[in-house]
Symmetry: C2
Subunit: 384 residues, 2 copies
């Protein structure tokens, strides 16, 4: 999940530069904002509310209304979200999967999760296929820990499952020419021919069932779904629906860049308590004032304060509590150090629980990759 | 095997236009002619001579000398030749396989034969994958009939075997960028991204073993092997060797175009005796004179006479007999009708025997695709 923020911004599936104007992105990509009516309809169908929708972390969509209509009329949609296994996962990566597992529970949906080892290799984000596959294994444990149903979730590495995907992939690929791929993804003469083919592979899981696919993803992935929606019906499948999230800002600032190669910008799922504390205390960009006196007088700026944003986007899920924090911080009653302390406790509590679930996942993983109900069906059936 | 012949010529793996100047093609592609010393060395290693080499039907090569050195020093090379299953096979297609099976017997070599159903689908040479797969099955019976060893030959459809090929394919693909593919294959903005990826797939079987691959093929396929030779060593494999043939001319003339959609230009392996006779009598381009009197006086031109060329390139394998025919025909002693009669008998005799072998192939096919020694090893091992 790339997320650089400066004044001019550019968002592609492989690069995000500048400070993202999310409202502009909706216009640029031609997606729809999630209005209040649609939110309420989603909560009603789900049987409960969800903070990430309430707060606009997921803020844009394509055809979410049609997916809900399907559900309301007894036709289940299925979920698809993936991971490029280029390295260890950080908090920005995992919150997507927690939200997807919530959708799965509430809508009794099958979930398909490719680990795109081919993509990270072909795009030079991994030094070798072996390394990508090692990370695919490590990442899959974190993904399972996010709470998926072992009988209705299929996790697979592209390189291992491509044998069954290839026929569908070339049916998709035949409908995408170089000019289109160039326009949408910025491909050029230097792009290798494996990476040129990859968009077809990313589209395929959205065609794993003949019912509607709903894709929860960060907004930068939308170009793939634009292609999917251009060609799906001509192949006999529904257009995919999508639910787009904003990016969790980098620790070092909402105008800074979270980078896998700059450890200080992110908190990894295997960072220990001391590391979490140190990264947040030393590195988290604060919206507080330069001195305690000034802070008491002027208050903190929650819009740019990364600890506040992280609490708001994931770690403090109580609306009452987050509003209390917002008020106390912006009024100057709460100092930056206190706010950071709240986040440190929340992150460490989350990571402790996540890691316990990850340990349990080791014994469950093969259900997701082969022996569970959905996985064994996928491993033994032809895709058409 | 495309083979149009006009004054200016152009040869790519998917299109051959103009009258091919084979000597120029050697210079253009940067290959080597097969000199007399190399011919004799090949015959000595093979333990017998072969008319197609003696007569220059296979006339160009890359590293054939190195393949022979490998063999002489006890390191076996392996053979790779394929078929795009776009329709029924004609005589021009099958003679390649007869030659390859001769190489297999004489050099005790494994042979890998992909049926590139993906390629014919992606390049619009087949209306659907299902149709391509039907032809892949039909073609595989004709290929088996050419005399391959069921325990040392692996025949597979790309779409069925791609699961095991994909990792190698993306290692290859990562080394070929769009600019290179454009320069070599003439790809452009309208080329679909599946076809853009295809050259990587065509390279993969040349990496099925870590020993040297020798590829007998029509000269138009050489661009693929140029790419193979550019990248193989960086992936830890030897550069492929190749043995290039001329094209069997179209029935309608060495300057005409053999086209799968124009039945008169080709003789198919399932054409019956009457059809063969009719096509040759009515349609075979003759180098004879306009009247019997003129022919007796001036003689026939064997250079442009398609019946003579077909006899020379495949159907009359006795050097004494073909020289006798050449002399009698060019001196005017033999008339065009007589020459055509000789070819008709030869073709029908060949097709009768070929079809008997094809019927036997039905019971043997599964050895080539799964249960034979080499096929079962390939179906159960990872490619690295």
């Amino acid at each position: 999940m790339p997320d650089t923020h400066n004044s001019d911004f550019n968002v592609t599936p492989w690069e995000v530069t500048g400070q993202v104007d999310y409202a502009k992105l909706i216009k640029k990509f031609g997606t729809q904002p999630i209005g209040d009516d649609l939110k309420q309809r989603l909560f009603k169908d789900a049987g409960e509310s969800h903070f990430a929708i309430r707060r606009g972390v997921y803020y844009s969509h394509r055809d979410l209304d049609l997916a809900l209509t399907d559900f309301e009329e007894g036709r289940r949609f299925f979920l698809y979200t993936g991971r490029g296994p280029s390295g260890p996962m950080h908090l920005g990566h995992i919150i997507q999967f927690y939200f997807t597992s919530w959708l799965q529970r509430r809508f009794k949906a099958n979930v398909y999760i490719p680990l795109t080892d081919d993509e990270v290799y072909l795009s030079e984000r991994s030094p070798s296929l072996d390394v990508a596959q090692k990370w695919a294994f490590e990442n899959s444990l974190d993904i399972v820990a996010a709470g998926f149903d072992p009988d209705h979730t299929f996790i697979f590495k592209d390189t291992e499952y491509l044998g069954r995907m290839y026929k569908l992939a070339i049916r998709v690929a035949k409908k995408i020419n170089f000019s289109t791929a160039k326009a949408i993804f910025g491909f050029g003469g230097e792009t290798n021919i494996g990476f040129l083919f990859y968009p077809a592979i990313q589209v395929v899981p959205s065609l794993f069932e003949h019912s509607r696919c709903l894709i929860p993803c960060a907004i930068d992935q939308d170009p793939f779904w634009r292609i999917q929606r251009d060609i799906a019906e001509s192949l006999g499948f529904p257009k995919a629906a999508a639910l787009h999230s904003k990016f969790l800002p980098a620790l070092t600032g909402i105008s800074g860049k979270m980078s896998a190669s700059i450890a200080e910008t992110a908190i990894y799922l295997n960072d220990d308590e001391r590391t979490v504390r140190s990264k947040i205390v030393k590195g988290a960009f604060s919206g507080g004032q330069a001195t305690v006196e000034e802070h008491r007088r002027l208050g903190g700026n929650t819009e740019v304060d990364v600890p506040f944003q992280w609490l708001y986007m994931f770690f403090e899920q109580s609306d009452d509590r987050i509003e209390q924090i917002r008020q106390e911080y912006s009024s100057g009653k709460m100092l930056s150090g206190e706010l950071k302390g709240i986040l440190i406790d929340k992150v460490n509590e989350f990571l402790k629980e996540h890691r316990a679930r990850r340990r349990r996942a080791e014994g469950e993983l093969e259900k997701f990759t082969g022996t569970g109900e959905l996985a064994s069906r996928m491993m033994n059936s032809d895709l058409t």
